[in-house]
């Protein structure tokens, strides 16, 4: 595919051919899938790789001296190497496969948090964290008598440098922050946060779940200590995700899950553990999932992050502009296209977000409504729920038009603006 030479619209149309789900009709209308922050759709290239594995190479990896098992092991290791290269980790064994971002964050909390956070230490989070990067730290704070400190967002959904400089101090032991908010789409200044945290010898846990599908990651350049993401939010199947950790940290952490393949020698009363990365990968691993994730990375890189960025930037500006023209719509966070991805939270005057998504659904438009697993941010924004449309590079300008049009009808259904 020579995407470069095509116009944005042509690019998108070409890309959409790879996604079988877009040939669907929802309620008699073509599907406009605008809930990509929740999960993305899967291109045929990814599904094909998974099928190929199960039809030709399936075996338990690491556990056999026969051809099929060796092939499965090789595929699994190649997937790990591909991810290492993709996020530019220094060592392959810094890549730990998990079920998803949530499990990866819990692994860090249980293994690092329970052992290296002490009474009186401070854990700094943003108020916009997804529950998966918030509740585990609450539990650690509770168990270890540590203190949770929040970085608050301003009216643009951004965290100011002042806020960061004020809250990250010598007492800070760990900072847990999303690179991109799953509600506001804000790209947070994580480079500054990481530098500031390191100045105070705190480690930083970066939640890339909402950034890596859109923004090229480089963990060495960021110099981040831990990073996590989920495959299903970046074209891969459900049930696979990644924990990245700096080698020296992972080495000093105890294992999290115990069982097959993560051990060295097991005696009746004691066990020694395998080296990285096996130490953190107990039980039969999800080889099919790892292959799917690796294929998704290949697909993304084949499209190219430059193309993805350009397409999404255009779509996001277009959507923000369209929605702003509706006087009954309030957009949360940044209203222009800067420092943000295509995650757009908004409300419609007098109409509860839940009703908005039901009404849009009748037009085949899939958006999400609710608290988006970010209760504390909702409270901070003085709302109970928002509507959220979240874009990916396979969305179209036409879908945004349909969103805007459908939003014009919403109030009427509830008896406002006279039918």
């Amino acid at each position: 595919m020579q995407l470069k030479e095509l116009s944005t619209i042509e690019k998108i149309n070409k890309i959409r051919e790879d996604f079988p789900i877009f040939s669907q009709q929802i309620n008699g209308k073509p599907l406009a899938y605008l809930d990509n922050a929740a999960t993305t759709q899967k291109p045929i290239q990814v599904l094909d790789q998974i099928n190929r594995y199960y039809k030709k190479f399936n075996a338990n990896p690491h556990r056999g001296a026969y051809t099929l098992s060796i092939k499965a092991t090789n595929f699994y290791n190649m997937a790990r190497k591909n991810i290492k290269r993709f996020i530019n980790a220094k060592h392959t064994e810094e890549i730990i496969f998990t079920r998803g971002a949530t499990e990866a964050l819990n692994l860090i909390a249980y293994s690092y948090g329970m052992n290296f956070i002490n009474e009186g230490d401070e854990i700094v989070l943003s108020i916009a964290e997804h529950h998966s990067n918030l509740v585990p730290w609450q539990q650690i704070a509770l168990a270890k008598k540590a203190k949770l400190i929040y970085l608050y967002t301003d009216e643009n959904g951004q965290i100011s440098k002042d806020e960061i400089n004020k809250k990250i101090t010598n007492k800070t032991k760990l900072v847990a922050i999303a690179q991109v908010s799953n509600v506001l789409g804000t790209v947070f200044p994580v480079e500054h946060i990481i530098k500031k945290a390191h100045k105070h010898n705190a480690v930083v846990v970066l939640d890339m779940a909402q950034s890596i599908p859109h923004i090229k990651a480089d963990v060495q350049e960021l110099d981040v200590d831990f990073a996590v993401f989920s495959g299903h939010k970046m074209l891969a199947p459900m049930g696979i995700g990644v924990l990245y950790g700096k080698k020296d940290l992972l080495i000093k952490m105890p294992p999290f899950l115990f069982g097959g393949d993560m051990i060295d020698i097991v005696k009746e009363q004691s066990t020694t553990f395998a080296p990285l990365p096996q130490k953190f990968e107990a039980g039969t691993q999800n080889v099919g999932g790892a292959i799917g994730l690796s294929a998704a990375i290949d697909y993304l890189e084949n499209i190219g992050y430059d193309n993805i960025y350009k397409i999404e930037k255009e779509l996001t500006s277009y959507a923000l502009n369209k929605l702003s023209q509706n006087p009954n719509i309030s957009i949360f966070g940044s209203k222009n296209g800067d420092d943000r991805t295509g995650v757009i939270s908004f409300t419609v005057k007098d109409v509860h977000p839940h009703d908005v998504s039901t009404i849009l659904d009748a037009d085949g438009i899939a958006i999400r409504s609710g608290h988006h697993c970010a209760h504390p941010l909702m409270t901070h924004c003085k709302t109970n729920a928002t509507c959220r449309a979240s874009l990916y590079f396979y969305n179209t300008f036409e879908e945004i038009d349909r969103l805007a049009e459908s939003l014009l009808t919403v109030r009427k259904w509830l008896g406002f603006d006279k039918r």
């Binding site: 309620n27 509860h352 039901t358 609710g370």
Partner: protein
């Protein structure tokens, strides 16, 4: 799915109705019901007298379905005996869960029948039943205080 079956005239009217959207003076019980997945928060108050629902009212935020459901419910139960009111709540919840489908049995629910089509929308079922579950709890709490 036809939106006309969900967002009916009845729903639109009750959703913005303010008749029972108010505080009760000297309530026998106030119970907070929460539907955490969509952020609905409903406080239902009841006042009992001589085995009857003397008054019922609600406050809180929520979607049209949960607000309309609360409005319809309060209008329906005020003045009914406690037993009748509890029976109606069971009937309503049974209707939404599709456990009771016999139209003749549902007649008692009166305007609340307008919510029947919600049973076709799994994601909205909790919105419709929140008021009724909370009401049941409020009545039980009030009764247990009496004793």
């Amino acid at each position: 799915m036809d939106l006309n079956e969900i967002y009916t005239q009845v729903i639109a009217e009750h959703c913005s109705s303010t008749k029972n959207r108010r505080e009760i003076e000297n309530p026998d019980a106030y119970i907070e019901g929460i539907n955490s997945s969509c952020g609905d928060e409903l406080r239902i108050g009841v006042k009992l007298e001589n085995g009857k629902i003397k008054d019922a009212a609600y406050t809180g935020v929520g979607c049209a379905i949960s607000q309309a459901s609360a409005s319809i419910m309060t209008e329906l139960v005020i003045g009914k005996t406690i037993d009748e009111a509890k029976h109606l709540a069971e009937l309503f919840i049974g209707m939404i869960k599709r456990e009771i489908t016999d139209e003749s049995k549902l007649e008692e629910l009166d305007e609340a029948i307008a919510l029947q089509n919600i049973s076709n929308m799994p994601a909205r079922v909790k919105c419709a039943t929140l008021a009724w579950h909370t009401f049941e709890e409020a009545v039980d709490t009030a009764l247990s205080k009496e004793q």
